[in-house]
Each structure stands twice: as structure tokens, then as C-alpha cells.
Symmetry: C2
DNA sequence: GGGCGGGTCAGCCGATCGGATGACCCGCCC
DNA sequence: GGGCGGGTCATCCGATCGGCTGACCCGCCC
């Protein structure tokens, strides 16, 4: 019998140890071939264009340069045949998951995942099928049941200044708006995040990775 | 010529991918033998007692159970022959480094480190010599030049309540102290963190991983 | 052409915060 | 036995915040 073509993988992670781990794990997996590895988003884009992998295993946190989300966006938005991006990262934060999916990721796995799950997810991703880690899937479902209101761009602007410890007047000046407007935005931010103080808002924002 | 005894390693990391990566990397390294792997701090303690490794490669972030710092503390505080703990983690935050060293870690490496550095650090650790990643060493030096005042236990208590968005009166009640005392602590926290608002304090605290 | 989400602005007011200053107690170490 | 760090408490006051209510504009979509 003829073996089917293996799934061709490009690995993108800034940690050498993790890349080595993936290479070691995937080498032993049937029907999977690692064709390249990248340590930055820029490298991944260049290699993907040259190697045309079926699937890109992508970490969201990439030390320097563009991050995993942006890399994913560019990979999936490129003209011609685009790879399926399977996000493999450490955190199962709502904001991260949402941003990755919006950027065009086909799946979202956690690094703590068992190897068999990883292999299955890769094969699923190769066919364009969605694959989510257990905890991630749960979180997505929970979000659909009680949708977390997402902050608007402007609200994130306010939040960013807030996290710098600025007062309302200072935030107003920094963003060229009136203090009244700042307070209005803050009110809505409090509502959305379920808090009622600035300190609480910053805590939740950092927790949910809503800030750079 | 007789080969020297290899350095016996115990790997502790909650991410299977990372453990696989370390195993793969270390397998190819001369004079290093991985004798066991653990996914939690509890496992690491049990295995270390049984296997008496020369060096424990320890991640600081360990999903469930006790964290890497506490595991390190118990490993190095145990009676009898204790392994040298070499921390291998993702972040080079001041607080993490300090806590790890205080807990008895022999070295502190980043996962992005090159394999040769890793090997060298392991051999150094086996002999009880300190090994630090470049960025970590720089940070330690910088801290010695301009020492970052560390928060006291009580100040961390206050900070934790602050991050919950509590007001001074609520913090006072939560900790069974007077509001005046809360304000005194806050004042010192602001001074130490270099901020002058509660929102700023929470932001810095989260940034520096001073809070759980 | 009306509804709606997002952004902007206003005034009012009580509650809270942040700044400054000074004080007491306790455990520890030289 | 004195100094010192850490924790506790107090008073005073101006500045700021948070809650409330209401409003206008614009772009978009049905």
C-alpha cells in the first residue's frame, strides 16, 4: 500500500528548547514531517513563503519582532496557497484565544497538551479542521454562553493610560479629549470588566492580557 | 581513558513539549544523563528523594500544586545530600530571579538559551557553581547597582487586596488593621514601586510578578 | 429614516484618596 | 542600651474619583 503524503510542518517558537522538543516529538509521529523551524515571526513568514508548509505550529509570544498573532494574520492573509496555522502556546487566556482565532488560526493548543492530542490536532489542522485543547474549548464554550463584552479601541487607549497610573485629567490631555469623556469611558470599562475601581480595572486588564 | 561519571539530571516542567525538548537535547549531550522527569513539584520532590540526581532542571511556573520556587526551597532544604537546582524558565523578571535564588537555586537560565549554554550551565551546577543566562546576569548586576527595594510581607498583603480593587477601608477590614495603617503601607508601597497611584501600583506589581 | 453602537461632552455631589507629619511598640543586632 | 526595620495608629486637608443623569454627533445597517 502507498503511504499518504506526510503533513509538512513549519515550527515557529522563540524558545530553542521548545523547538527541539517539537522536533523530537514530531519526528516520531507518523505522517508528519517538519520541513523548517523559525525563531521569530519574520523568519516564519520568509520560510513559509519558501517552503509552503501545510501547517505552521505557532507560539503567540515571540520575544522580539512581530508577535504570533500578527504573524498568523499575515500568513493566512497572504495571496495564493496559505498554510493552516495551529497555535501552540502556554496560556489559555480569553483575549489570546480570541485574537488568535480572529487572526485566522485554525486551532489552539496548549504546550502542556499530550503528544497524541498534538498529533491529532496537526492532522486535523492540515485538513482545515478546527482543533482546540480541552481547557481552550471549555473556555470558548463558556464565552459563548456568557459573552465577555470586548473593549473598544478607544477604551483600550484609556485603559493603557490608566495602567500608567495617570489621573483623569492627565489621561484627557494625553488623548486630547475632555475629562468628562474620560470618565464616561472609564464607566463603561468598569461595567465591562466587572469592577468599580481603577486598581481593579488594571488588575483585570493585566490578568486578561488586554494590555501590551 | 575512563569516562567520568555523567551528571545525573531530573527534569521538572509541566509542559510535556518542553520536557520532550530537554530530553532530546540532553540525550545528545556528552556527560549528561536524564534519570527522571516530573510534571509537578510534588512529583519532583518524590523522584528526587528516590533518584538522588546531581542536578534538577526546574521550571518556576508549574500549573497545579506547589510552584517551582517552593519546590526548590524544599529540595535544597531537605536533610542529607541535596541536588543542585538549576532554574530554567521563560521570564527574567527581577522578582522571579530573586525568589529563586533565595530559595536556594544554583543557577537561572532562560528557555530561549542556546543548547551549549544549557550544557555548560548543567555541568557548572553539578559542581555547585553558579550559572546565569546573559540577560539574567545583566539584571542581577543592574539590581546591585540600583537595588530595588523589595516589598515586605505585609506590603504584599496590602498590594494583593489593592489588586482586588478594594478601597482603603475595605482593605483595613480585610486585614484587621486600621485605615490609617493601610494608608501608611500604601505610601511606602508607592515609594518602593516608584508610582503615586493605586492603579500604577497594581500595574507595576503585575508587571514584576509580585502578585500570584 | 429610524435605530444603534461608538465617541464625545457637561454639571453636580458625596466619598475616597494621596500628601504631610508625627507617634508608639516590638524584635533584633551590635 | 541604643539604633533600626517593620508594623501599627492618628489627624488634617485639598485633590481626585466614582455615581448619576442627560446630551450631541456620526457612521452604519436594515
Amino acid at each position: 500500500m502507498t503511504a499518504p503524503d506526510p503533513v509538512r510542518i513549519l515550527v515557529c517558537d522563540d524558545h530553542i528548547v521548545v523547538r527541539a522538543g517539537l522536533l523530537a516529538l514530531l519526528d516520531s509521529a507518523p505522517g508528519i514531517e517538519v520541513v523548517g523551524e523559525a525563531g521569530t515571526g519574520e523568519e516564519a513568514l520568509a520560510l513559509a513563503a519558501k517552503l509552503t508548509p501545510d501547517v505552521v505550529l505557532m507560539d503567540l509570544q515571540l520575544g522580539e519582532g512581530i508577535d504570533g498573532v500578527e504573524t498568523t494574520r499575515r500568513l493566512t492573509a497572504a495571496p495564493g496557497t496559505t498554510p493552516h496555522v495551529l497555535v501552540l502556546t502556554t496560556y489559555d487566556t480569553d483575549a489570546d484565544i480570541t485574537r488568535a482565532i480572529e487572526a485566522g488560526a485554525t486551532g489552539y493548543l496548549l504546550k502542556a497538551e499530550r503528544p497524541e492530542e498534538l498529533f491529532a490536532a496537526i492532522h486535523a489542522a492540515a485538513q482545515g479542521r478546527t482543533a482546540l485543547s480541552g481547557p481552550v474549548a471549555s473556555r470558548v464554550m463558556a464565552n459563548m454562553r456568557s459573552p465577555r463584552p470586548s473593549l473598544t479601541d478607544r477604551e483600550r487607549d484609556i485603559l493603557a493610560q490608566l495602567a500608567r497610573g495617570l489621573g483623569n485629567r492627565e489621561i484627557a490631555r494625553a488623548l486630547f479629549i475632555s475629562e468628562a469623556t474620560v470618565k464616561t469611558h472609564l464607566r463603561r470599562i468598569y461595567d465591562k470588566l466587572g469592577v468599580d475601581t481603577r486598581a481593579g480595572a488594571v488588575a483585570v486588564a493585566k490578568e486578561q492580557r488586554l494590555l501590551p
